[in-house]
Symmetry: C2
Subunit: 192 residues, 2 copies
């Protein structure tokens, strides 16, 4: 199957995604309309639907663009340096903004199965798969024992830390916390 040619430039796409995230922060998911996105970005609704399919997909793709790097792209030769690279690519200001955004979306997800599915398919599953690939390479290199029971729980540790820290300590995750958490919890649990 031939890939459909994208009709807009990457710059225009980034601009559109930025406008969607701005609107999302201003009015929340429920109140966000394709009309408002079209008006804000001076584009037609037909273009929006053709390019992104639907509001949930548009939001999920816009969120994906806030990620500085995908875990799929990291392959430095050892698990320690892979995780160090992940931390290094993180941006404190961006993580704080994302925490606020995801908090607003957490409610919307339970009202909209379509948004839940779009976030899972476009955002969560690809990153979890990227993480599993990274871990499998570490197993193949002999850095982690193949029967290490913590292998199944790495997404729970990382995603859990992101959500638990604001609840427990009233602050978003930053690179410093992420680095300490990985050193203190993830590596010892994996026996690395």
């Amino acid at each position: 199957m031939a890939a459909r040619r994208s009709r807009i430039t990457p710059e225009r796409e980034a601009e559109l995604h930025g406008a969607v995230l701005d609107l999302l922060r201003e009015v929340g998911y429920e109140a966000l309309t394709m009309d408002a996105v079209a008006a804000r970005t001076k584009s037609s609704k037909a273009t929006l639907y053709r390019q992104w399919g639907s509001k949930p997909e548009l939001v999920a793709k816009a969120l994906r663009c806030t990620q500085p790097v995908s875990l799929r792209e990291i392959d430095t030769g050892s698990l320690r340096t892979d995780f160090a690279r992940m931390v290094e690519c993180s941006d404190d200001a961006q993580m704080a903004k994302d925490t606020a955004l995801m908090r607003g979306l957490a409610h919307a997800v339970h009202e909209s199965p379509e948004l839940h599915k779009a976030l899972r398919d476009l955002l969560v599953d690809p990153e979890i798969n990227g993480l599993q690939t990274m871990l499998q390479r570490a197993v193949d290199r002999g850095e982690i024992r193949p029967d290490c029971p913590a292998l199944d729980f790495v997404p729970h540790m990382l995603i859990g830390a992101f959500i638990a820290l604001p609840l427990i300590e009233d602050r978003p995750v930053d690179r410093n916390f992420l680095g300490h958490f990985i050193d203190a919890v993830v590596f010892p649990a994996l026996g690395v």
Copy 2:
């Protein structure tokens, strides 16, 4: 200071808390009114305010009553059996109900600083303190090294797992998951 005599029986208190949680599940925190609680429980609003102080405190205290056991009460002589007792006291059906309830409240918490404070003071902080006491006893008994870096992150691991599992696997935490997570992640991170 003498403790103020409670004017209602423990049975009546449990009945009131149950009615508050029922209403909370039915209408959500924002729409919950003291009038509705008074009507549902056939009590006067004056009694509700005298006994519980405010809507956020009433909700926090009602939620506290759903906990089968407080971590403060667990002291079996070793960390392994303390955690085993914690898992043993958990109730799968109750945890599933709590997950749905807390999901609804997560949104309300960010709209109401009073609810946030009541949940923190009456629910979260006492359990985190109970957990820290449990861990300190294990350090004193020589089961955990006093400089173990994971000691600071046990609440993040446990609370994180509770929140991350429904997001990642679309299911609430149950005893089986909790037991495996503790064995695979918490004990190895603590070097136990």
